[in-house]
Symmetry: C2
Subunit: 137 residues, 2 copies
């Protein structure tokens, strides 16, 4: 049984998330997703549009995800990897090199992100879209 | 084998969609989701933020969904029900009474919508959210 773990916020669930989760799952037999809690995000000065419990429910409904756990601390990764017998740590390549220090515990894989899609891009697109609709009214 | 079908646009995948799909699937063994194409939406004067192929990929990644088909015509429901041997037609109760005419072909179920969440509400929330962030910059 090969266990894969990934970390993220997963605000505004989109095709980039689906692609990452599908590819992460394909690297093993079981995929754990650690989702940033609202409190953890606040500490980073980050606010999500979708609250934690909704983000968890959406991820739990994804066929590539076997387990969802909370991420509430930058330092929990080493503990998670040991506790869940993780073989592969996966994250988007916008973090390339940032988690190499975990490679004494497990394999570290940076996956290429889907071009032109992110939660931030989604929010910007929605802003433009909603304003355009207003202008048409 | 009991087959359930539902119809929708599924723009900006959210908790309301997950709840509906989960409950729809629980009414049978197999869930088919018919997703409005971009062309069909255009004909209704409706534009989505997420394009058709992304909406399909997100739905296909949902563990409650067994098959996704395109919805490109108001009149295709009777054909779909016959072709896919559908036993239950499910839709949100904002459509209550509107599809009773299908009850000669299969069971028609209107499911209660999740309170306070819809793609439209999401767009409005994002607009406010993005403007607030701008004001803080």
């Amino acid at each position: 049984m090969k266990t894969v773990i990934t970390y993220g916020t997963f605000d505004l669930f989109h095709i980039g998330h689906v692609n990452l989760l599908k590819r992460a799952k394909s690297l093993g037999d079981r995929l754990i997703v650690a989702v940033s809690t609202d409190e953890f995000n606040q500490g980073k000065g980050k606010t999500t549009l979708v609250p934690y419990d909704h983000r968890v429910a959406i991820l739990e409904s994804c066929r590539y995800v076997d387990q969802v756990i909370p991420e509430s601390d930058w330092a929990q990764k080493r503990t998670d990897i040991a506790k869940h017998n993780v073989d592969v740590f996966v994250i988007g390549d916008d973090w390339k090199g940032k988690f190499d220090e975990l490679s004494d515990l497990c394999e570290v894989v940076y996956l290429e992100r889907t071009t032109d899609i992110s939660s931030t891009a989604m929010k910007q697109a929605i802003l433009v879209f909603t304003q355009l609709q207003k202008d048409l009214l």
